[in-house]
């Protein structure tokens, strides 16, 4: 059910004109942003790291807007009630949606790297190509599971968009997707340490640049993500009941 659900949701998402336009424009913007940021910082040698970071930002945006936006879209389409009415644990119903958004997020990574290569001539020479090929999907699946935890709050909130918009930039900033965590104030450290995005980004970066062993970071990312999945599943059951009590599954 999870595979069919994720596939069909990815199909539905990838046919949205808005999603297509966003998918075309955002990677170019992010690749440009990353390249100029690193050039201005006098570190042109780290352009691949910049492109990978920008790609991860795209994956995160996709998961975040996918979880929040997809739940809100389901509410607008009138399908949220229909899927929550299924005789399944609510987490199992929502997980395919967040996985689908992570899948479409993969495209953001590929497109950012491709645009980086085409427009700015960034050499796509990965230090550990195999580790990179494993780290990217691992990170994406991890973010999808994190998305489930986020989605549980979106089921409850009728104005989920507000929360989605607020979370986009702080998370990729704190997770060190583009700017090194060491450059951030000390108090962000503990927050970064518990976010799967931090470890996922680190794993992908390590695989791309060879700055460290990929597997421990990827392992921590997946472990935190699994914890998020478990917590998300418990929360989803609780939230579904609260949504039925508060009547927030439908628009009105």
């Amino acid at each position: 059910m999870i595979a069919v659900g994720a596939l069909l949701h990815a199909k539905q998402l990838s046919r949205s004109p808005f999603e297509i336009a966003t998918a075309l424009i955002v990677p170019v913007v992010q690749a440009t942003l990353a390249v100029y940021l690193f050039r201005a910082g006098g570190e042109p040698g780290r352009l691949l790291e910049a492109a990978v970071g920008a790609g991860l930002m795209g994956v995160w945006s996709s998961v975040l807007f996918g979880s929040g936006g997809a739940i809100q879209n389901q509410r607008w389409q009138g399908t949220l009630e229909m899927i929550m009415l299924a005789p399944r644990p609510p987490a199992l119903v929502v997980l395919p949606i967040t996985l689908a958004t992570a899948l479409t997020g993969t495209y953001a990574m590929v497109a950012t790297l491709a645009w980086g290569r085409l427009l700015y001539g960034i050499p796509l020479t990965f230090a550990h190509p195999l580790a990179f090929a494993v780290a990217v999907p691992g990170c994406i699946i991890g973010l999808g599971m994190f998305g489930l935890l986020l989605a549980s709050t979106f089921v409850l909130l009728r104005n989920a968009n507000a929360l989605t918009n607020t979370l986009e930039y702080p998370i990729w900033l704190v997770s060190g997707m583009l700017v090194p965590i060491t450059a951030l104030p000390g108090w962000t450290g503990p927050i970064a340490a518990v976010l799967p995005t931090t470890w996922g980004a680190r794993a992908v970066r390590e695989a791309a640049t060879g700055s460290g062993p990929t597997w421990p970071s990827l392992g921590i990312c997946l472990a935190i993500s699994l914890a998020c999945l478990a917590l998300g599943a418990i929360m989803m059951t609780h939230v579904e009941r609260r949504a039925r009590a508060a009547a927030t599954l439908a628009l009105a």
Partner: protein, 336 residues
């Protein structure tokens, strides 16, 4: 097997909302105020009422989408609050309108996804989907995206989706809303066929003819409570001792309607707008001829055909609903 497919006792639902941050205002709306009803296995039961009467809320309380503020409900013997999953396995829910489907997917993909969600075994899915596409006459268009479907086709797809897991109880919430007459007739046929195969159907509708044709029993709900319940023939008795005058008119205002309503012998008066014309319906005591007084009250208004007739089920429904409204609201013109 439980004796009743649907049982509700003292069902109530209050919606609470809050607006404003600095000076928050809390608002409570009591949408359902104590509904009692039982629907037998295999029965086709109608729930009729005006907008805001509590029909959809009642359905959502019964199909587990909402938790009641008070009271209890059971579907096939399972409690809707405590045994949610057991209830969901046994019910289908179809509502009217354009929403509730994945527009950018084909009908087949929509059905495939919901078949997975509703636990239809993989080996059975293909056959079941083909069977339902045939039933709702969408075979041949199953690979087209739903966004290109007409309202009637979407509605039929909704029904197919609601039937995927062979539910024992089907909730149909205004399925014929906005559907053209031919599609509505096909829809009624589909519903009648379902009931004939033993599926219990709870149907809400605005259309009296639909309820009269399909339902074995009808409950009229208004102001959150059931005002009358019985077979269509029993409900017609609510208009006993009355006669009906229908006047085709152009330009009847609220003031004239209030005057007509106050005439001696007049029990109900309402205006329905149909295209450019209005149809004024006046229910009066059977022994009182109000025609001359009504026409006098309409002095200056361009009139068409004037007809006197016996009350129908619709007149009985209007009598029941207006009895409730009269306690709370002034008489006003209604546009449809």
């Amino acid at each position: 097997m439980s004796e009743h497919a649907i049982e509700a006792v003292g069902l109530r639902r209050t919606y609470r909302s809050r607006t404003g941050w600095l000076r928050p205002q809390r608002r409570e709306v009591e949408a359902v105020r104590g509904v009692d009803l039982t629907v037998g296995n295999g029965e086709l039961f109608g729930l009729l009422g005006p907008n805001g009467a509590g029909k959809t809320t009642t359905i959502k309380l019964l199909n587990t989408l909402l938790i009641p503020t008070a009271g209890e409900a059971r579907i096939c013997g399972f409690d809707v609050v405590r045994q949610t999953r057991e209830v969901r396995r046994r019910i289908g829910y179809v509502f009217g309108g354009d929403r509730g489907l994945y527009d950018r997917l084909s009908a087949r993909d929509n059905l495939r996804y919901f078949a997975e969600l509703y636990g239809v075994p993989g080996r059975e899915q293909k056959r079941r989907i083909a069977e339902l596409l045939d039933l709702v006459r969408l075979s041949g268009r199953e690979n087209d995206r739903v966004e290109g479907y007409s309202r009637g086709m979407r509605q039929r797809l909704h029904i197919a989706r609601g039937l995927l897991h062979r539910p024992r109880v089907l909730f149909l919430d205004e399925p014929s809303i906005g559907v053209d007459p031919v599609a509505a007739r096909e829809l009624r046929q589909t519903v009648a066929d379902l009931a004939a195969t033993g599926t219990t159907v709870l149907l809400t509708t605005h259309y009296m003819a639909e309820a009269d044709e399909l339902c074995g029993r009808i409950a009229v709900i208004a102001n959150g409570t059931i005002q009358a319940l019985g077979t269509p023939a029993e409900l017609r008795h609510h208009a006993d001792g009355r006669q009906v005058l229908e006047v085709e008119a152009y330009g009847v205002g609220d003031a004239q309607l209030a005057v007509i309503h106050a005439l001696p012998g007049v029990r109900e008066a309402s205006v329905v707008v149909t295209g450019a014309a209005q149809v004024l319906t006046v229910q009066s005591d059977a022994g009182v001829d109000v025609q001359a007084d009504v026409l006098r009250a309409l002095d200056g208004v361009r009139l068409g055909r004037v007809t006197a007739r016996q009350p129908t089920l619709e007149d009985a429904y209007v009598a029941i609903v207006n009895r409730v409204d009269a306690q709370a609201l002034p008489v006003e013109a209604v546009a449809v």
